[in-house]
């Protein structure tokens, strides 16, 4: 009797799980189909040129999303590089030199950082980072690396660089905490093995800790990049909101998520609205593509680690 009832409850549970999963699938399907339906006019009007078009001019009914795509990718990439280098370094410091007294404080501060809403990062960016970039950071880069197109042109403060830096700072707590957890999971015997061979702490990290945690770190980095792609408020506040493509990181740009929030409410014509929906669709596709590529990369690296 008891056995039967247990069996029944299992079936009920499995059924419930299955229906939740179905709802989820349905939900995703609805989102995608609504997006496609709403952006249909734009898709049929512009076709592929929506992705390659560099002009976004509602007045002339010209909608090309390339500047937003460009701004999204470049700013996220800057953020990624910053977060990986600084975040990775901080995580190493915090795990490997954990006898230092400031570690507890740093951990606490990082937890606080992670809870700060993005609009606050945006404000900080606008009032602290942007003026600093305009008065000190960018003029310095221009003076030293100005011959590289990336660091040339008029200095605004706001722009792709500012957006990228803000994104990087926003990604830091996540990257640090994930990388720390990963590095804490590196077995002590392995670390002792390296130390017993005469490795310094740094050599140990390079030889054992990082290789052991690299798949996880790669995953964490991708996770943060995915988050950066969709980040809206903070980016809107510092990117300059100018739908242009410039080789200089000092120049203002715009991002997919940002143009959506700034223009959606006022979009008056059908084509305008439809194009904004297509921007949403492009953002979704970029995120999904990116997610798939990162899954594949993580899979390949872990596979290679298994073979090599």
């Amino acid at each position: 009797m008891n056995k039967f009832r247990k069996h029944d409850s299992d079936r009920l549970f499995a059924g419930a799980l299955l229906s939740f999963a179905l709802i989820l699938v349905l939900f995703i399907f609805v989102i995608i189909s609504v997006l496609i339906e709403r952006s249909w006019k734009s898709i049929t009007t512009f076709g592929f040129s929506f992705l390659t078009g560099q002009t976004w001019n509602p007045l002339r009914h010209m909608y090309g999303s390339l500047p937003f795509l460009y701004g999204t990718l470049i700013s996220s990439l800057i953020g990624l590089v910053l977060a990986t280098v600084v975040g990775g370094g901080t995580a190493i410091l915090l795990t490997q030199f954990n006898h230092l007294r400031f570690v507890k404080l740093a951990t606490f501060l990082l937890d606080v950082l992670a809870t700060i809403p993005s609009v606050v990062y945006g404000l900080w960016g606008l009032f602290v980072l942007v003026p600093w970039l305009r008065n000190t950071g960018e003029p310095f880069l221009k003076a030293t690396l100005g011959f590289v197109p990336l660091f040339s042109g008029q200095v605004w403060g706001v722009g792709l660089l500012a957006a990228g830096l803000i994104l990087g700072i926003m990604m830091l707590p996540t990257i640090i905490s994930v990388v720390r957890k990963l590095m804490d999971q590196v077995p002590q015997e392995l670390q002792d093995g390296a130390i017993a061979l005469g490795a310094t702490r740094t050599e140990k990290v390079r030889m054992v800790v990082l290789p052991y945690a690299r798949v996880g770190i790669l995953g964490a980095v991708f996770l943060s990049f995915g988050r950066a792609l969709g980040e809206t408020i903070a980016v809107t506040m510092v990117i300059g909101n100018s739908p242009t493509i410039s080789s200089s990181l000092f120049q203002p740009g715009d991002s997919l998520a940002s143009v959506l929030v700034t223009q959606f409410l006022e979009a008056s014509t059908h084509l305008y609205l439809s194009s904004l929906y297509e921007i949403g669709l492009v953002l979704l596709i970029v995120a999904v593509l990116f997610h798939s590529v990162s899954k594949f990369l993580v899979w390949r690296v872990s596979e290679r680690a298994r073979i090599a």
């Binding site: 392995l190 017993a196 005469g198 690299r214």
Partner: protein, 250 residues
């Protein structure tokens, strides 16, 4: 290569807790010294003090001195100490992301050796010494987890030997292996003692009796008795040794 290792009034602590109490003993060159004792008696801590691994644990420290070749190891750079005193751990711990070859070469690279032929030569020699060469010579560039646990442990021995230490510590090296692999390790220890000072921690008294030239018994952080295994096992001088051997202790 081998040099005697002389320990003088060694004490070790975790925070305020004292793990080892005033241990003094000599581990002669070209001999196998076995350390026996129940779990928690301080055997592992003792050997971790010999290569200064103990102090890498947070809040751990030690007092006393350890002499090797007229040098006090506690006054040297710990990095140098660990290159003189090699160590093999309880469970095989090859570096999982490295190949067989790179595991053995790891210590050489840490020493700044870049010359490929020197490295290859040394890798082969070390694998020969740990009698693994014939089993892995065709799979040097394969990942280490294709090896059996016994092979992995011998790989770790080769890794330790590659940097040519004077002393080789083995901390219960066969306790997690199958009997056949354990036997191989034991044979290896016999072979190696001609060139190294060997310190072998074991809780297996048969093993200690088989391979040791000198045996030391640890109980509750103290060195209770040391001597040749024949003397220690058959004519214990200390009451506690007798209790332990007859199973009345620990």
């Amino acid at each position: 290569m081998g040099k005697s290792l002389i320990v003088e009034t060694l004490s070790a602590f975790y925070g305020k807790q004292q793990i080892l109490r005033h241990v003094s003993m000599t581990m002669p060159e070209h001999q196998v010294t076995t350390i026996i004792g129940p779990s928690g008696s301080g055997k592992t801590t003792f050997v971790r003090c010999l290569n200064r691994l103990h102090e890498t644990t947070p809040n751990a420290h030690m007092e006393g001195s350890v002499w090797l070749d007229h040098q006090n190891l506690y006054e040297l750079d710990p990095i140098i100490v660990r290159r003189k005193v090699g160590m093999v751990f309880q469970a095989p711990n090859p570096f999982p992301t490295k190949t067989v070859y790179e595991n053995v070469a790891a210590g050489l690279r840490l020493n700044g050796i870049r010359n490929k032929s020197i490295i290859s030569e040394q890798v082969e020699k070390s694998l020969q010494l740990s009698s693994l060469w014939n089993e892995v010579k065709n799979s040097l560039h394969q990942p280490v987890w294709n090896l059996t646990r016994g092979q992995q442990q011998r790989l770790c021995i080769a890794r330790a030997l590659a940097i040519e230490p004077s002393v080789l510590i083995l901390d219960e090296p066969s306790s997690t292996l199958d009997p056949l692999s354990a036997l191989k390790i034991e044979e290896l220890v016999e072979d190696l003692k001609s060139s190294y000072t060997i310190v072998l921690v074991t809780h297996n008294m048969q093993q200690a009796a088989r391979v040791a030239d000198l045996t030391a018994l640890f109980l509750e952080g103290e060195l209770v008795e040391q001597g040749s295994p024949a003397d220690l096992f058959t004519r214990p001088r200390d009451k506690r040794t007798e209790d332990y051997l007859t199973g009345r202790f620990g």
